[in-house]
Amino acid sequence: MIFNTFEYFFWFLIPSAILFRLLPAPYKPGVCVAFGVAFFVYFSWVDLNGIAAAACILIFLWESIFSRLYRPGSRWCLVGVVQAVLILVLFKYWNFLANLFVGPGNSFTWKNAFLPLGISFFTFEFIHYAMDRRQGKTEQGTFFEYLAFILFFPTMVAGPIKRFQDFLPKLRKPSLDAATDWRVGITRILCGLVKKFAIADFLTSVTVHLNKGDVEAAPKWLLLLWLFAYGLKIYFDFSAYSDIAIGSARLFGLVVPENFDWPYFRRNIAEFWKHWHISLYRWLVDYLFIPMGGSRVVVPLIYRNILLTMLLSGLWHGAGLNFLVWGLWHGILLVIHRFWSKSRWAKTTPNRFGIVWRTLLTYVSVNLGWAFFCMDISTALLFFRKLFSFPL
């Protein structure tokens, strides 16, 4: 919940944003840190329990101390990357991997496993900082500036995934145009809440039917309707979240990266990914795709890099085989698109009909993929068998 709670706005956001604006520059990181700690302790306590709150704070404290070792070219940066990945694997994937490799009900299962709030996002910021410090792409910042970066609560739960080199200058010199910032910020927050409550939550009442029992009984047209409703729901839900996060940051006078730019109106799958969860897409390109060789290698290796990047993106979205298949689906679509875009047929400029056709094709392809995102594999396969009338 968090962003649609009274506590978020009146206990944390508004007091911290006002204090941040009123206090002189040297104290601003302190405001982010103090409210960030209080935010994580409070919401971890409310939504999980005391252990989760303690784990969060310990992770942040350890990261902020350890990251002081990072220097351009230093191996400590690589250690930092490894430990961030290990933290993510331990909390998010331990039971998934144990079940996958040892089998269900094994003795390795972590029975009281819990997920520290925002772990998928803050570990990505840890990795970004370590890698960019190693390559000399960002300055170190002070201890409190880095803590303010990782504990900036409007973006820490589910992004947008920030970059330290973008955040630091704004933290040191935030916007002074409070009137515009608050008008734009409040409008963005209110629109985000409307998108969440009026549209995404309404669509939830439609998409709850995407389960085995209902899928078995539903006619084809209804299956399609549910799936397209899910595609809209996930867009409105996550873009609503991003609106609230970006609007909240704006109240501080800080501009954080955008996450969505009309993704469903794009003409191909590559364009879709450039405009869907933009901060994640850029992270994947910079810290996964390019280090693997990106597109500066021979063609088969480019395809391998695309597939691996999207497979890992799928796994990042959730610890389940269905998310891997979802990632693979997008990887295959991107490979097909790349193959097509390099062919001679793609060189012709599309007319109006061609543009509409390509946009529709992209929209349908993306939406078919959501089946693997919102259902387990067996239910998703049943869904497709029914949709395309495959023999049961």
Partner: protein, 60 residues
């Protein structure tokens, strides 16, 4: 195409994505319009907030 771009800019402006409105939009009494828009948004939030569920992308 120009109309679509203009509409997109208008929607982004009223959605708080852009700071300024689309070119050629002369709105008199802007504060009043913003107040009305916020009132409408708050009204919609009040009407629909009962069906709240968790955000999909938040880890729990």
């Amino acid at each position: 195409m120009k109309t679509i771009t203009w509409l997109k800019q208008l929607l982004e402006w009223v959605g708080g994505v852009r700071e300024s409105g689309p070119p050629g939009l002369n709105l008199k009494g802007e504060s009043l319009w913003w107040s009305l828009w916020w009132f409408l948004l708050i009204l919609m939030i009040s009407v629909f907030c009962g069906q709240s569920s968790k955000f999909i992308y938040i880890d729990f």
